[in-house]
């Protein structure tokens, strides 16, 4: 395809590098340095999209992130990116884009029929109808609305690209590399300030690339190149192009760097985008301004374009937005558009200015072009492309002019959103006819057009001054502030928002199809505050984030309600300032890398033993070890339980929290932490303890061993390891800083294995040989000791979760795999087998030990049968609150055991207890099943549960009510200890 609308000369595109791309399947060619939008324009493509509600044909309206119309689905397959602004897409070879939100095609969109219903589809129409009959909303109305709504399509496939995160620090962050930003970076950078210059575009220079300005006698774009070259030589300056600062947060700015968006796919090992957190001592906001549109009939026709965008397309991209162009302006700026279009050899049919008097030097910019002063464009006509406009002159006479493009200049809105993210709303300045950020955050200053300083000279001056300030502030030698020589520009502008008397629809928000009449309706119905206006009409809520619509809309509302714009106010900008991919915020934490995977030091050994693993928080734990021939998990678990109960088993318990406490006051400290007493514990002994939260509910349980007078070892549950550590630190640092206690988490420093079963002593004696005497007399139940095996410290605790004779043995974590293997080797003749968490759980239920299912944050010690442990002779965390009336109520649901009346029946945790023969109701709900297991020892399912007044109901038969699963099972209440209630085995 030829680039029919490409100007013969000029522009910053690289004509020596043609670039192929396609739009809606049609092949085109552009040049390196084009955006998708400029390349489409150069190829004469005018119809690029459809609007949200009415599916009106739309063309390219702007040349930046303010684009409301030219949204495309970029790329294909899993990389499809819906709603991508063609004006921000850097052209690359092979680019493919599709138009969106149209059916069956862009040129022929059946949904455009909505326009005929537009008298009904006014703002908020849906609040007034679709109510009858009520069932039709979900079945009929809403599905139809949902299908019609939305813009582009997600692929539905997993995003194949990766995203990175990085943090940068600097003295001075300059946001925007237009003239103000470049000047600031140059001045501060030369002085030695650590500067980061962030620019969204792929070239530096901002408007310098789009205008015909000169600085010090050179074209603006050439000056920008020169500045860039100099900045690149400064080691203290970092230039971040393709990087948009999207948010200002407490203490940092968020920015997104589009690392590979200008390529078909990211290079190998490179991310698509990088999320930056930039911590800067000072920020200069040099983001420029966004031109405003004017609301008149048909102002959405393809070919109507912001004047500044036209200058961008002509001067930077050498792409003609049309051949016969009119300019409609409220200020001097439009005249420069006309001048530049003429210079590019395009025909300017007329300039329409709402003002009656124009400065002579402005008037002279356009030579012999027809001029209409005190006049307005009232209506624009054309379907898929602008054909003509109606001008209403100062005398009120309508005149039709044939044009194929119309430049619109309604003044400028400083891009101040980033200055308001931390809270202060912008305020209206009548003098500037714009909202200004008068109270930016303390460490932020505004420069150039962002500050309402419209001229190039002011921008350069602002940048230079703020750059000097930064140099002074951060102690760098003073250099003389450079002076930049530029021509003066006229910047007078008249506030004019809305042209009355249109015959066709006049749009305020192009993407969301909000018209002037919608705003009038909102005013009529009482939605007069800017927040109500926005929410009722959806004004400013489109993907352009209101850049071209917000101020115009609220100005019209101000007119309608007889208030000033200052009184009407504006909505608060919220991050992100440009839309940012969800994937970029997530970075690497997705899929299997969502959270770290913690492996115990015996993981490799367990894998070798054929373990099936289960997630326990972030840990992976061996759940069971299937043997050849076992086809069902229950088979393996049952065998493991029987092995432990009859011989000996080995289980990795390294994941339990381990906290080492040292110091003379640990005993006192633990007395205050646990409900029971620890200060009396002898060296070489272990005690079971329960700790409460401040509110009297059980927080955690576990054993603590006293290895030496000043050296204690606390164990916590796996789930609460971090929480308990945090609790201890809080108690020590905040409540009792006077206690001489030091503590450190050593969970990952020790590999620990339970060795359980009647032959566990024999196994350990075999392993340790003469190092230790493990006879019941020398090493009784609840003994602990540290031995040395060669140079290796070995800790042994005689504790039991299974209820059998059992020990836990710990070695430094490096030896995890080796210890596990050594235990198996030592026990080979004793019939040893490894067992997993499932068997562990079965045996603790058989033994009536509570675990996470019971210690769920909603139970108190007496609920769990542990009430008698609560010391009455000392104070401890939670004691006072545990005495509240509801916590001493004897009817509270308390721990019971349960067995099925029919021994073949399976029990399930989560079933509620209801008396037999009565309907389940809130009044008859007596508690619920907390844990269940098939007991190989008893040969049927057993359960633990919390039952109202439970301990007194032994023998009672109840219904375990489980409507969300299999249904009901009749159960009998039994004591919660099913195996060895006297505890003879563990003391054997």
């Amino acid at each position: 395809m030829t680039q029919a609308q490409r100007l013969a000369a000029g522009g910053l595109v690289d004509r020596s590098t043609p670039v192929s791309f396609s739009f809606d399947g049609k092949p085109f060619t552009g040049f390196a340095g084009d955006t998708l939008a400029s390349a489409l324009l150069a190829n004469g493509v005018r119809l690029v999209g459809r609007s949200f509600k009415y599916h009106r044909p739309r063309g390219i309206f702007s040349a930046g992130p303010e684009e409301p119309n030219a949204l495309v689905e970029l790329r294909a397959g899993a990389r499809r990116e819906p709603n991508t602004k063609a004006t921000c897409v850097e052209l690359y070879d092979g680019l493919s884009a599709e138009s969106q939100n149209r059916w069956p095609s862009l040129a022929f969109d059946l949904h455009a029929v909505n326009q005929f219903a537009s008298p009904l589809l006014v703002a908020g129409f849906y609040y007034k109808t679709f109510m009858w009959p009520s069932a039709f909303w979900e079945r009929l109305y809403e599905p139809a609305i949902r299908r019609a709504a939305g813009l582009g399509r997600l692929s539905g496939e997993s995003d194949p690209d990766s995203y990175e995160k990085a943090t940068a620090f600097c003295d001075l962050l300059v946001i925007g590399a237009g003239p103000a930003g470049l000047a600031a970076a140059l001045v501060a950078g030369r002085a030695g300030v650590r500067v980061i210059l962030a620019e969204s575009d792929f070239v530096l220079g901002g408007r310098l690339n789009c205008e015909t300005h000169e600085i010090d006698g050179a074209p603006g774009s050439a000056w920008a190149r020169q500045a860039e070259d100099e900045l690149a030589t400064l080691p203290n300056v970092r230039i971040m192009r393709r990087t948009s600062v999207f948010g200002v947060y407490d203490g940092e700015c968020g920015a997104i760097e589009r690392v590979a968006d200008h390529m078909p796919a990211p290079p190998e090992h490179a991310p698509r985008q990088r999320l930056w957190k930039i911590v800067a001592r000072q920020t200069i906001l040099a983001t420029g301004a966004v031109e405003r549109s004017i609301v008149f009939g048909g102002n959405d026709r393809p070919g109507v374009m912001l004047g500044s965008a036209m200058r961008t397309y002509v001067n930077r991209f050498a792409a003609a937005p049309g051949r016969r162009i009119a300019v409609f302006t409220t200020g001097d700026d439009g005249w420069r558009t006309a001048r530049d279009l003429r210079t590019a050899g395009l025909s300017v049919e007329c300039v329409v200015d709402t003002r009656h008097t124009i400065a002579p030097d402005v008037l002279s910019l356009t030579g012999d072009t027809a001029v209409y002063l005190g006049s307005h464009v009232v209506d624009a006509f054309g379907g898929h492309g602008l054909r003509s406009i109606d001008i209403r002159d100062a005398g009120g006479i309508r005149k039709r002019v044939a044009v194929d493009a119309l430049a619109v200049s309604g003044g400028w809105n400083p891009d101040v959103a980033l200055a308001t993210h931390l809270g202060a709303s912008p305020t209206w300045s009548d003098a500037k006819a714009a909202f200004l950020a008068t109270e930016p955050p303390r460490s932020m200053a505004l420069a150039g057009a962002a500050a309402g300083h419209w001229t190039l000279a002011e921008a350069l001056h602002d940048g230079g001054t703020l750059g000097m300030d930064a140099a002074t502030r951060y102690g760098h030698p003073q250099l003389a502030q450079p002076r930049f020589r530029t021509s003066d520009e006229a910047t007078e502008v008249q506030a004019c928002w809305h042209v009355g008397g249109a015959r066709s629809k006049a749009f305020v928000d192009l993407q969301n199809d909000v018209t002037d009449r919608d705003i009038a309706l909102a005013a009529r119905e009482g939605f007069r505050s800017v927040e109500h206006l926005k929410r009722y009409t959806t004004l400013g809520m489109a993907t352009d984030q209101g850049r071209t619509s917000n101020v115009g809309g609220l100005a019209i509302m101000a007119e309608l309600t007889g208030r000033t714009i200052a009184e009407t106010g504006t909505t608060r900008a919220r991050p992100p300032h440009i839309p940012v991919a969800i994937g970029a915020f997530a970075g690497l934490h997705r899929d299997t890398h969502f959270k770290p995977t913690r492996l115990t030091s015996g993981h490799q050994w367990a894998t070798g033993q054929g373990a099936t693993f289960v997630d326990a928080g972030q840990w992976l734990r061996a759940q069971w070890f299937a043997r050849p021939g076992e086809t069902d998990w229950l088979q393996s678990v049952t065998r493991e339980v029987r092995t432990v109960r009859s011989a000996v088993g080995v289980c990795d318990v390294s994941t339990l929290g381990k906290i080492a406490l040292t110091g003379p006051d640990v005993g006192t400290f633990l007395d205050r932490i646990y409900i029971n007493t620890f200060s009396t514990l002898d060296v070489g002994k272990v005690r079971y303890g329960v700790m409460l939260r401040e509110d009297g509910f059980v927080m955690d349980d576990g054993t603590t061993a006293r290895l030496a007078p000043d050296h204690w070892m606390m164990s916590t549950t796996t789930a609460n390891a971090a929480k308990v550590m945090q609790h201890l630190e809080f108690c020590h640092q905040v409540l009792w800083p006077e206690l001489d206690v030091q503590m450190v988490s050593v969970t990952e420093q020790w590999a620990q294995y339970a060795v359980a079963g009647p032959r566990s002593r024999a196994l350990l004696q075999q392993l340790l040989g003469t190092v230790a005497d493990l006879s019941n007399e020398a090493f009784p139940y609840l003994a602990c000791r540290e031995f040395r095996c060669g140079s290796l410290p070995v800790r042994l605790y005689r504790i039991s979760f299974s209820g059998e004779l059992a020990y836990e043995i710990a070695v430094p974590a490096n030896y995890g795999d080796a210890l596990a293997q050594a235990l198996i080797d030592a026990g080979r003749d004793l019939g040893v087998a490894p067992y997993g968490t499932e068997a562990l759980s079965v045996m603790r239920i058989e033994k009536g030990h509570v675990a996470g299912n019971e210690i769920n944050g909603q139970t108190i010690a007496s609920d769990l049968g542990l009430g008698r442990m609560m010391s009455t002779r000392k104070d401890y965390v939670g004691r006072v609150m545990a005495a509240r009336p509801a916590l001493v109520d004897s009817k509270r649901p308390s721990l019971v055991g349960l067995k099925p009346v029919d021994p073949a029946a399976r029990l399930r945790a989560g079933a509620h207890f209801v008396a037999r023969g009565v309907p389940a109701s809130p009044e008859t709900d007596d508690g619920y099943m907390t844990s269940t297991a098939f007991s190989p020892t008893l040969g049927h399912w057993i359960g633990l549960g919390l039952l109202a007044d439970g301990p007194r109901r032994t023998g009672e038969r109840l219904r375990a009510y489980d409507p969300v699963r299999a249904g009901d099972v009749d159960v009998e209440v039994v004591p919660p200890v099913f195996v060895d209630p006297k505890g003879e085995r563990l003391r054997a």
Partner: protein, 416 residues
């Protein structure tokens, strides 16, 4: 004016010139029977039900800004009654039943859409906890279904089933759950209340209470003093500050909760999904935006703004659950102030000052409760006795220990 397709058609013919303000922007009178402080969802609903259910129409709703500007317009629009505890279920189920009739009741389409709320589980322990919850719901007559992995896959094939750190095992589904158009809820209640004679007074900030002999007699406002026989506070986010004006303290901390919406997309997510291995919930609005959120930022704040770490945390949850949304862009984020109470449940009770009532502590679950909260609060104000569905939300429950702690987190507000 009654809203219907017919009235819309009739107005379309006349150029929509005849529509009237949806509610009267009233000037404050000198005295009312009841003054409600706070023109958010709960305050407006309370006014509506005072008028409708109890015939009390000499009522003013005082709003310091514009109605609906607080949390009713800053949430993720989810409605559900999938609670665990007996203290909570009746209120949220009452609310759900009111949602189901709301549009016909208000003659205002708030787009109540029962597209289902699915809570995913990823472990046996979570499954059993959801079974316990589902059974509790069924005991209260609330719908609940426990789905296995294949059941979830049938509903949401695009979730991450294959490469997940915490694979999905199933989910608890409440089909009657869904979403509502949040702003419209505020406006619909305002219109309904205003039509029944309630004064909705905007830009009227309450600056103090007038109290005589331990009984409230009115409020001081930026628009003058207003006498009232009863005063009701419904100012979530600012509850402690307003309570302080009446010299009592609330067991509440103010926190920041962020929410997010993406650019408009063609439909991909039919219902509401919550992730069980991280804090993340998502739905898609009728307009096409993905609406999602996660944890509170975690520190006490009165600033209606959030910070990046929480944004990242939420999006990590999203990408772990459904990596298909990676290329969807966040269009806007916003932050609301939430009343985090000590047990994660609200307070609907008489204040320690006679004639003063307080509705607070909704944590981040206030929106779904809007109709029920207004209904029971109106009952409490009108009859001076709690509604049967809301007997346990007492201010003194922290003293008696009758707490309603769904999560079992204890008295640490930022964990609820």
């Amino acid at each position: 004016m009654r809203y219907s397709l017919l009235s819309l058609l009739a107005n379309a013919v006349s150029g929509h010139k005849a529509w009237k303000p949806q509610w009267r922007d009233a000037a404050p009178q000198s005295a009312y029977d009841v003054v409600i402080v706070g023109g958010g969802g709960h305050g407006l609903a309370t006014a509506y039900y005072l008028a409708k259910e109890h015939g009390i129409t000499n009522v003013a709703v005082l709003e310091k800004g514009w109605i609906g500007g607080g949390n009713v317009g800053r949430n993720t629009t989810i409605i559900r009654s999938n609670y665990l505890l007996h203290g909570n279920i009746p209120l949220y189920e009452l609310s759900m039943q009111l949602w189901e009739k709301l549009e016909q009741d208000l003659n205002y389409n708030a787009m109540i859409s029962q597209r289902g709320v699915l809570n995913l589980f990823h472990s046996d322990g979570q499954r059993d906890a959801y079974a316990r919850r589902g059974n509790a719901m069924r005991i209260h007559g609330v719908d609940a279904e426990l789905l296995d992995r294949e059941g979830v896959r049938k509903l949401y094939p695009f979730l991450n089933f294959d490469a997940a750190r915490f694979p999905i095992q199933g989910g608890l589904l409440q089909r009657r759950g869904g979403t509502a158009r949040h702003d419209a809820v505020a406006w619909g209640y305002a219109r309904g209340a205003s039509d029944r004679g309630v004064d909705i007074v905007q830009n009227c900030e309450v600056t103090g209470f007038t109290i005589a002999d331990g009984r409230v007699t009115g409020v001081r406002t930026s628009r003058g003093e207003i006498r009232a026989r009863k005063v009701a506070i419904a100012v979530a986010g600012s509850s402690s500050r307003v309570a302080a004006m009446a010299s009592f303290r609330l067991p509440i901390e103010s926190h920041v909760l962020q929410a997010f919406v993406s650019e408009g997309l063609k439909p991909i997510i039919p219902g509401v999904i919550t992730f069980g291995a991280g804090h993340f919930y998502i739905s898609q609005s009728d307009k096409g935006g993905l609406v999602f959120g996660g944890d509170i930022d975690g520190y006490n704040s009165y600033a209606q703004r959030g910070n990046l770490p929480c944004v990242e945390d939420v999006c990590e949850g999203g990408m772990a659950l459904m990596p298909a949304i990676g290329r969807a862009r966040v269009l806007r984020s916003w932050a609301g102030l939430v009343d985090m109470s000590m047990d994660g449940s609200p307070i609907i009770d008489r204040a320690p000052v006679d004639g003063l009532f307080v509705n607070a502590g909704w944590c981040y679950g206030g929106f779904k409760a809007t109709p029920g909260s207004g209904f029971v609060f109106a009952h409490l104000i009108a009859r001076d006795a709690p509604h049967p569905a809301a007997t346990r939300f007492r201010l003194d429950r922290f003293r008696t220990g009758n707490i309603i702690d769904e999560k079992g987190q204890g008295a640490q507000p930022n964990l609820h």
